[in-house]
């Protein structure tokens, strides 16, 4: 429509008129189809995202007791949450997990992807699939399996350590449960992140490496100076996934709780705390406040991270 060069003859101008106006009106009318395509999703979005959020927020502003019924208390539940040592400890726990777990997953995924990118043997194809396979295992089953493997009764640890003449540590004790959980999560997700990073690496034009090799760059230099910067947007995305996943840590500790008796309290992470408040103590109002507060913390953290990395991710 922008290519309307000034018509020279009146004949062409006449022919041009209807062509110019009709598509415009059609064009505008057609755009309404966009809403029809988006509508089914919008309905689910409103019902199962916006509505629960609004509802949770409303609930979090009330307290409910048998004696007085529902009573509006404003932000009292939030004041309680952010001074509740159990909630704050939970936040601290997931923050610690984030500091250890996210780098652990990233390092395994990135190095594996870089190694795989340099190889094209049947062995590397096979390895790629095998490293990815844990992603296809449900998180509950993964945690159950590792629970068995950690267990001194079932697990191979004592056999393996005996080979080196050492005694196996108790992976399920209070002071080692942290590392045991980090290991489960890394096992479960590193392969998935590796595939994302690997796909991004394959998208780089190999001609760039040839130029670098001509300039005398080593494989390590190519990896750290060319490949990693070129896939930074994928890396940012992977960190966001890992961050959101870590802050809502629930399934693995919840499942391991049964095996590791006493090592994991019911309020280990904020989500576990909210779950036990709601379903063991029926404190739905306070649980909603905890859920909502956690949601805000996750949102702020991911937003902050995106802001810090806006250059790498290409988002402005």
């Amino acid at each position: 429509m922008a290519t309307t060069t000034a018509p020279t003859s009146s004949h062409r101008a006449e022919a041009h008129q209807p062509v110019k106006h009709r598509p415009d009106r059609n064009y505008r009318r057609r755009q309404r189809w966009g809403w029809l395509f988006v509508a089914p999703f919008a309905l689910i979005f409103l019902t199962f995202l916006v509505l629960p959020l609004v509802f949770a927020f409303r609930m979090s502003l009330f307290t409910s007791t048998l004696a007085t019924g529902d009573r509006f208390v404003g932000f009292a539940n939030y004041a309680k949450a952010f001074t509740d040592p159990l909630f704050l400890d939970g936040l601290l726990t997931v923050a610690k997990f984030g500091l250890i777990m996210i780098p652990a997953q990233m390092i395994v995924a990135l190095i594996a992807a870089l190694v795989l990118d340099n190889l094209a043997t049947w062995a590397s194809k096979f390895s790629r699939l095998m490293i990815f396979i844990p992603y296809a295992v449900p998180v509950v089953i993964g945690a159950l399996m590792w629970g068995f493997l950690y267990s001194p009764r079932f697990g191979p640890a004592s056999t393996v350590f005996a080979l080196f003449g050492a005694e196996a540590p108790n992976f399920l004790a209070q002071d080692s449960i942290f590392g045991s959980l980090v290991n489960i999560v890394t096992w479960q997700w590193a392969g998935y992140y590796m595939i994302i990073i690997y796909a991004a690496l394959r998208g780089i034009d190999p001609g760039i490496y040839e130029a670098a090799v001509l300039d005398g760059a080593s494989d390590r230099q190519i990896a750290t100076r060319i490949k990693v910067p070129m896939i930074s947007s994928s890396l940012v995305m992977v960190v966001i996934f890992a961050l959101i996943g870590t802050l809502q840590f629930f399934t693995e500790p919840q499942v391991l709780r049964g095996v590791a008796q006493g090592a994991i309290p019911t309020d280990y992470t904020p989500n576990m705390y909210a779950f036990s408040l709601a379903f063991s103590y029926s404190q739905f109002n306070y649980a909603s406040a905890i859920s909502f507060a956690l949601g805000i913390v996750v949102f702020v953290f991911s937003f902050f991270f995106l802001f810090l990395t806006r250059k790498q991710s290409g988002l402005k």
Partner: protein
């Protein structure tokens, strides 16, 4: 750091042809022993738990505790089929019901979420309707809302309308996939050229027909990826069904097996279900592993779609 052990031979850095040749050799797999050892270690780490599970599924409970072959090898006795029989006997075969539930939830939730994501992603990518920018901005923010934070509010909401403890309590919330919409939009923007759509319109095709005959085939790789992601997401889901379901007959296999484990850990009354748990867990991971292995072509490229642009 196996990847840095084999740097290029300095002699090869001379001529253009030779360095290109060395590059080709690297891509097609030269004698990169260090890299392969590194990969071998990774593969052993990632595959050991699954190997352990498949071995464990062939043992009875006594074999699990004190088998002749140790935890990582088979026993003299092979009990896999006894264990499968045990899964049929236990509580009238409730395990198979759980597995069926998982399939029902994963397929209906996954297919539903994908259909919604394809339609919405196409709508966002190819139409400039009023409110599009605002809605997509809200959606991008929603990708960052932790879905587990929605579980308890969703539970309360569903109990208000009497849907708690029905299959809908799991299926309906599973239809929500903001990330799927985001992926579809990014993909549709590049894979479906406007000129092609306009050509179809000039030929007299309506908007729906244009979508089904022109756009849909072009979107196929992204559709498979989003479908896999949402099926896996629903299949894996634990928090939501744990919260909204209490009828044992409605549980998915993940929550059901977790219940058996809790029962066995409590240890009272000698409830020795360990062999059923390992066998049940083993059988439950097979379908998705097969799905991923057979659909490799689609998801391997598709998973990188989400990279922020």
């Amino acid at each position: 750091m196996a990847l840095v052990t084999d740097t290029l031979d300095p002699k090869q850095q001379g001529g253009r042809g030779r360095s290109a040749a060395s590059r080709t050799r690297a891509r097609s797999g030269g004698p990169r022993i260090g890299s392969h050892i590194f990969l071998l270690i990774l593969v052993i780490y990632f595959i050991t738990p699954i190997w352990w599970l498949s071995v464990a599924s062939t043992k009875d409970t006594a074999g699990l505790f004190s088998g002749s072959g140790g935890p990582l090898w088979f026993d003299d006795e092979f009990h896999f089929f006894d264990n499968v029989q045990g899964l049929f006997d236990r509580q009238n075969g409730i395990y198979w019901r759980w597995l069926g539930n998982s399939f029902l939830y994963a397929i209906s939730g996954g297919v539903g979420a994908t259909v919604l994501a394809v339609l919405a992603g196409y709508g966002f990518a190819k139409y400039r309707f009023r409110g599009r920018g605002a809605f997509f901005g809200v959606l991008l923010g929603a990708v960052m809302v932790p879905l587990t934070a929605l579980v308890i509010p969703t539970f309360v909401l569903l109990s208000e309308v009497g849907l708690v403890n029905t299959i809908w309590a799991v299926i309906l919330p599973s239809l929500l996939s903001p990330f799927g919409v985001y992926l579809m939009r990014v993909f549709a923007q590049e894979a479906v050229p406007d000129e092609l759509l306009d050509a179809a319109r000039i030929d007299g095709a309506g908007e729906l027909r244009t979508f089904f005959t022109i756009a849909l085939p072009l979107l196929r790789p992204a559709i498979v990826t989003v479908l896999l992601l949402s099926v896996v997401g629903t299949w894996n889901n634990f928090f939501l069904p744990l919260a909204v379901l209490s009828d044992p007959l409605l549980l998915p296999v993940t929550v059901g097996l977790n219940g058996w484990t809790a029962l066995s850990n409590a240890g009272s009354g000698g409830e020795a279900l360990w062999n059923l748990i390992t066998t049940g867990a083993f059988i439950s991971i097979i379908p998705l592993i097969i799905a991923f292995l057979s659909l490799q072509k689609y998801w391997q490229g598709g998973l990188s779609l989400g990279s922020l642009k």
